[in-house]
């Protein structure tokens, strides 16, 4: 099964690095968690970060929009890393997938600023992870799958499972009333055992 040809290799937004940028992004998260994005000014962020307003604009010329994009990118990276650590600690495919999905969902559930936005200002976050913006994220998850599930599966299958993980995680980002609590490893394992594993080639399921 061939993946459709893509013209552009998925490439994450570049996030300014360095202590100051890090402090500013952390300050953004603190302010947004406390009062939401609309009520957070660049001045608030600068004050919280202990730097000048001009410094914020120098590192993030697009102001709050740029900060949000950078924060989203940072969180995606953090989630992929948490998922990687979780998967790498497991001995078999089902365990690795369940651990990765649970770790990702737990990381997102505990992100106070994100949760506040999802509840009160969903329009701010959702465009970054919906429709056309979802495809690059799914591609990165496919690459993640190849890297961290490749010891269990052929690359094509590993990529498909990586993408499946991302879909499940994002599909539960806002899940009022779902019978499956994806922050609960037992529930996630049940989902994986029941709905993912039977669809995989027998030979590829365990190391």
């Amino acid at each position: 099964m061939a993946a459709p040809p893509t013209a552009v290799r998925p490439r994450p937004t570049s996030v300014p690095t360095g202590d100051t940028a890090g402090r500013i992004l952390a300050a953004t998260a603190t302010c947004v968690a406390a009062q939401g994005l609309r009520a957070t000014s660049v001045d608030d962020i600068a004050r919280e970060a202990g730097c000048a307003r001009a410094t914020v604009y120098r590192l993030f010329p697009a102001g709050r929009t740029g900060l949000l994009a950078a924060a989203v990118e940072l969180e995606i990276g953090a989630v992929l890393e948490a998922a990687a650590s979780a998967a790498d600690s497991q001995e078999d495919l089902a365990g690795a997938v369940a651990a990765a999905v649970q770790a990702s969902c737990a990381a997102l559930a505990s992100h106070a600023a994100l949760q506040r936005l999802l509840t009160e200002e969903p329009g701010v976050v959702l465009p970054h992870i919906s429709f056309d913006n979802l495809d690059p994220l799914l591609a990165r998850s496919g690459a993640w799958g190849v890297e961290h599930l490749g010891r269990f599966l052929e690359p094509d299958q590993a990529a498909a499972v990586g993408e499946w993980c991302a879909r499940v995680v994002l599909a539960h980002l806002r899940s009022p009333g779902s019978p499956t609590d994806t922050t609960d490893l037992v529930a996630v394992r049940r989902l994986v055992d029941r709905h993912l594993v039977p669809g995989l080639p027998v030979a590829g399921r365990t190391r």
């Binding site: 099964m1 061939a2 459709p4 465009p127 429709f131 496919g142 879909r167 029941r194 709905h195 039977p198």
Partner: protein
């Protein structure tokens, strides 16, 4: 349309027309009243929450109609697998071709995603309910495990379906063979005994 539509539906249809013509932010209650040929008082009677509620319900109404069309389109397929295949291919294409959605995503992404997030929650409930019924039919026909946790399965498949509708990822949803493979491995495999 030969069947008479209720006032509420006329207003919703007019609101959708205004959104199509002017976008979300620019659509005022007055615009809708004029387009629907009703008074403002009439609109408030049906939408006491005012403009905000009207816009949200217009979007929700359009989303519900979108999925009702898919449901009608797949009804004559012989089993759940065939229905899901047709729903994935047809639904994805209909979404790609939805001019208003893509225009709003370009011009007012925050506003449209805010409205869609509300509409999607409601539509997911409908899709899950539909799948619960479909899984029961499969169980009766001996194609699904009678001991399945149906609520968990329907919720999972409903969310997965919406995910594929929004973004095809590595799958070519216009390729019948690929879609059938996707449905067999990620939707049906978990239902089998």
């Amino acid at each position: 349309m030969s069947t008479p539509t209720s006032t509420r539906e006329r207003v919703l249809s007019a609101a959708l027309g205004c959104i199509e013509a002017e976008g979300l932010a620019a659509t005022s209650l007055e615009d809708v009243a004029r387009a629907a040929e009703v008074s403002r008082a009439t609109i408030y009677r049906h939408f006491p929450g005012g403009r905000g509620q009207l816009v949200t319900q217009a979007v929700t109404w359009e989303v519900a109609r979108f999925f009702a069309r898919i449901e009608r389109d797949i009804a004559r397929e012989p089993d759940l697998g065939a229905r899901l295949s047709r729903a994935l291919t047809g639904g994805h294409r209909a979404l790609v071709e939805h001019g208003l959605l893509h225009r709003l995503l370009r011009t007012e992404p925050e506003a449209v995603m805010t409205e869609l997030s509300i509409a999607t929650d409601l539509v997911l409930e409908l899709i899950v309910e539909y799948l619960v019924g479909q899984i029961a039919i499969e169980q009766e026909a001996g194609r699904a495990d009678p001991d399945l946790d149906v609520a968990e399965a329907a919720d999972h498949l409903g969310r997965l379906y919406l995910s594929y509708l929004g973004a095809a990822g590595r799958w070519d949803l216009d390729d019948r063979a690929e879609v059938d493979h996707l449905v067999r491995t990620q939707f049906l495999a978990g239902l089998a005994a």
